[in-house]
């Protein structure tokens, strides 16, 4: 009898919270909430003015920083080649690469002209990794965009974006690998910083 009540208690304890919100739901909510926040800012007529662009940029940057796990992205983008980096070089790489990705992401996102965004399914790929499917619908086609998110330190963070089957992280890794075949980490950092600083110039 006692055993039964304990098991019922256990079931109540574990089943209810789990059924209320599965891990995949958490991932889904995380991605949709972040994307919605970005969209709200992009659609906000208050930012249409040229003078408000800087403020819009700041706001977007803030959201994007909670969306992406830049350290994880940097680590993965270097892959095994990261082992030839000293910790200082690694930090420098992470900082530069973060700035580059932010610039690219924000420039891309600002080309947004009210296309429809569709949210698809979220599937768990492993215990703490999920993939959230979204699509952007333009006049002539539909582009699938998948967000890979990981649950780390009690929060979801995105560590890869897959556009039409092309993983961003893998694409950068292929380039870094190629560069590091004949060049030193210093050369790569140099090239990266040139690129970031070139993009630092006022856009458009």
């Amino acid at each position: 009898m006692k055993r039964q009540s304990i098991s019922i208690l256990l079931i109540l304890l574990f089943v209810i919270p789990v059924s209320a919100s599965t891990p995949a739901d958490g991932a889904f909510d995380f991605v949709t909430a972040s994307v919605d926040k970005v969209l709200t800012i992009l659609r906000d007529p208050a930012f249409k003015e040229e003078s408000a662009k800087e403020e819009q940029y700041q706001k977007l940057t803030k959201i994007v920083r909670t969306l992406f796990d830049y350290d994880e992205i940097s680590r993965r983008a270097l892959g095994i080649k990261g082992r030839s980096f000293t910790p200082e070089q690694m930090d420098e790489f992470s900082g530069l690469f973060t700035r580059l990705l932010e610039k690219i992401y924000l420039n891309r996102v600002r080309e947004y002209t009210d296309e429809k965004i569709i949210y698809g399914d979220a599937t768990m790929l492993s215990k703490n990794i999920a993939e959230v499917q979204t699509s952007i619908v333009t006049a002539s086609k539909q582009i699938p965009i998948k967000y890979r998110v990981a649950f780390k330190n009690q929060e979801w963070r995105c560590y890869d974006v897959i556009i039409e089957g092309v993983s961003l992280v893998r694409n950068y890794r292929s380039q870094f690998n190629k560069i590091l075949q004949n060049k030193t980490p210093e050369d790569l950092l140099q090239q990266l910083s040139e690129m970031v600083n070139k993009k630092e110039a006022p856009t458009e």
Binding site: G79, I80, L100, I104, R108, E111, L125, S126, K127, N128, I129, A139, S140, K141, R148, A150, D160, E164, G165, V166, S167, R170, N171, Y172, S174, Q175, F176, K178, I179, Q191, L192, M195
Partner: protein
């Protein structure tokens, strides 16, 4: 952009001619290619170690084991052609596509795109059959009939409203991939863009399944192809630019993007 270039066999003649040269080239590059291959397998071993390191990422890295590693024994030649295609895009294709975009409303351009897609039905149908995807072959046939009639020769796309009628397209390169034929090595064709040995062979097969290829005289057929390329480009101006702009090494970025894109296309 690479898709558009890849699908448009304007330079098919050149393709066939250059083929013999390519195989000869491959022979002389054999040693180098072999060295690269062994380097790749060593690299894969390292990825295994990485996998142990981050237990939680197991799934992801496992998937990357099958990564789109592709030999590139013709890299020097390919980079040359890449530079040529880049030049051609910015100096010829893009200005023409922009002018065309300026004088042609978007719905018309989308209609033209729909028309050519609908016309490519034989390519898709034969390849669905060759991949034993009979259901998809049936669905695509329904789509073709609906769009050719209600959609007025395919200019409109009424099938868009039924998701089950819109299956991912298949081509001969994907069929060969499905039959476990490897990619061979990477090739960049003038005008056609990124490809592999396998996908190039697929392009020849697809050429004979394309109704446009049978239009005579020959220059009209070529003109139709070129027009399709311009029309497609007019709808995707900026895509190639953004790939290039965000890359440290645009050649490698495009190669990897092509390989990942095709890998996914073969899988689905």
């Amino acid at each position: 952009m690479e898709k558009d270039l890849q699908r448009d066999p304007t330079a098919l003649f050149a393709l066939i001619l250059v083929f013999s040269f390519l195989f000869a080239g491959y022979g002389s590059n054999y040693k180098k290619a072999f060295a690269e291959e062994t380097a790749v397998s060593a690299d894969a071993g390292e990825e295994n170690a990485l996998q142990d390191e981050y237990d939680e990422w197991t799934y992801d890295l496992e998937e990357e084991e099958s990564a789109s590693r592709i030999r590139d024994p013709l890299e020097r030649f390919n980079r040359g052609v890449f530079a040529f295609n880049d030049f051609f895009y910015f100096r010829a294709l893009k200005p023409v596509a922009r002018g065309y975009r300026f004088i042609t409303p978007e719905p018309v351009r989308i209609g033209v795109k729909n028309f050519f897609y609908n016309l490519g039905f034989p390519v898709r149908f034969v390849n669905y059959i060759l991949q034993v995807k009979f259901q998809r072959a049936g669905q695509d046939t329904c789509r073709f009939i609906l769009n050719s009639t209600a959609g007025i020769l395919g200019f409109f796309n009424p099938a868009q409203r039924c998701p089950w009628l819109n299956q991912p397209p298949e081509d001969m390169g994907q069929t060969l991939g499905k039959w476990s034929i490897g990619n061979g090595f990477y090739i960049v064709w003038p005008l056609l863009g990124p490809s592999t040995l396998r996908d190039s062979a697929g392009l020849i097969g697809d050429y004979f399944l394309q109704p446009v290829s049978y239009v005579r005289p020959f220059y009209v057929s070529m003109g139709a192809r070129s027009y399709e390329a311009v029309n497609d480009t007019s709808l995707s101006i900026g895509e190639y630019e953004s790939i290039k702009e965000s890359a440290l090494d645009p050649y490698t970025a495009l190669k990897d993007a092509y390989m990942q894109y095709r890998e996914k296309a073969v899988q689905e």
